[in-house]
């Protein structure tokens, strides 16, 4: 049977605003399938976002949603989680929103290991605001603010998250659509801060400037660079040059902030 996405979509909201061929729609479908697999209740699920193309996602999904200030998804989501610890809190956003403007909030949410899931759609650029380079834009790539090529090296979001203390880190791509829901479902089930980076395509502001002739070329690039973690174990460093690992990259069981803060409340009550 065809999957019933309509159950999770707010009536009358489609078609969405994303450009033809933009992978954000594929990620949104993956998220919906993951929520359906886990049988999440709409009233117990909050999707929080900042500003940007990817951050428009909560507007389409029929559950508790919060569209906040640029880069501040993690801050608002922390508030939601602390007020209602029983809720499933899912953050969505792009690479610019998550790692530049909200970079500080992101690393501290990782450090605290709050029981939330952050889905970062990495399309290597600020799409909505006119194609400025983001911290994830690869070296040499062109953006509206780097017309002669970007001199900076890009962030590796997964390594950044692991280094900052996130306890579940996974990576997928918009091309490998049937893997997205599995990664997101595993991330939501994980107790602690989980980060799922989805490599995405922006045909409008990134593709055009960087000699991708079509959406298909961008999708083929995602297909070529992605190497599953298990396959990578058998490959040499030379073969892995220019490739990106996909799958669950890191998993650890550690005390999470939500539970630890509940203990603080208990201690404070006992001290009275």
């Amino acid at each position: 049977m065809a999957f019933d996405y309509d159950k999770w979509i707010r009536p009358g909201k489609l078609p969405h605003i994303w450009c033809p061929g933009c992978g954000h729609g594929i990620v949104m479908k993956g998220l919906i399938r993951a929520m359906e697999t886990l049988q999440l209740k709409k009233e117990d699920t909050a999707i929080v976002s900042g500003i940007g193309c990817a951050s428009r996602l909560p507007g389409y999904i029929d559950c508790c949603t919060l569209h906040t200030a640029h880069g501040r998804a993690a801050a608002f989501a922390t508030g939601v989680k602390m007020a209602k610890p029983e809720m499933n809190v899912i953050l969505v956003g792009g690479d610019g929103d998550g790692t530049a403007i909200g970079g500080n909030h992101f690393i501290h949410a990782c450090r605290r290991n709050i029981d939330m899931t952050y889905i970062i759609m990495n399309n290597y650029i600020y799409g909505m605001t006119g194609g400025q380079f983001s911290p994830c834009t690869p070296t040499g790539a062109k953006a509206s603010t780097t017309p002669y090529g970007n001199p900076d090296p890009g962030f590796d979001i997964a390594k950044l998250a692991i280094g900052a203390g996130a306890t579940f880190v996974a990576r997928g791509t918009a091309f490998h659509a049937n893997q997205i829901d599995k990664l997101i479902a595993e991330a939501i089930q994980h107790k602690g801060f989980s980060v799922v980076e989805i490599l995405d395509d922006c045909p409008t502001t990134y593709g055009r400037r960087n000699k991708y002739k079509s959406v298909i070329e961008m999708m083929n690039r995602l297909k070529e660079v992605a190497v599953p973690v298990k396959a990578a174990e058998k490959m040499t460093a030379e073969q892995l040059q220019g490739k990106v690992l996909t799958g669950v990259l890191y998993k650890e069981e550690k005390a999470n902030y939500t539970d630890e803060y509940a203990k603080v409340i208990e201690r404070a009550k006992a001290a009275k």
Binding site: M1, G25, A174, I216
Partner: protein, 65 residues
């Protein structure tokens, strides 16, 4: 035994004509008709559902028995 064919519904109102479904269909079931995708050769469909999974615009629904 007769092969049971799936139904592929394309919601033209949602389709933005990105070509992803047409290009990545392993058996070339779909084609572009003007700006939107359309079913060309339903007989060849192997029900892999990749078109439905990869459509960013919620425009394809594949129904199998």
């Amino acid at each position: 035994m007769e092969k049971k064919l799936p139904t592929i519904e394309i919601i033209e109102k949602y389709c933005k004509g990105c070509h992803i479904c047409v290009e990545f269909c392993p058996t070339k079931v779909l084609e572009m008709q003007g700006f939107v995708a359309a079913v060309k050769n339903l007989e060849a469909c192997i029900k892999c559902m990749q078109c439905e999974l990869r459509c960013p615009d919620f425009a394809i629904k594949v129904t199998t028995e």
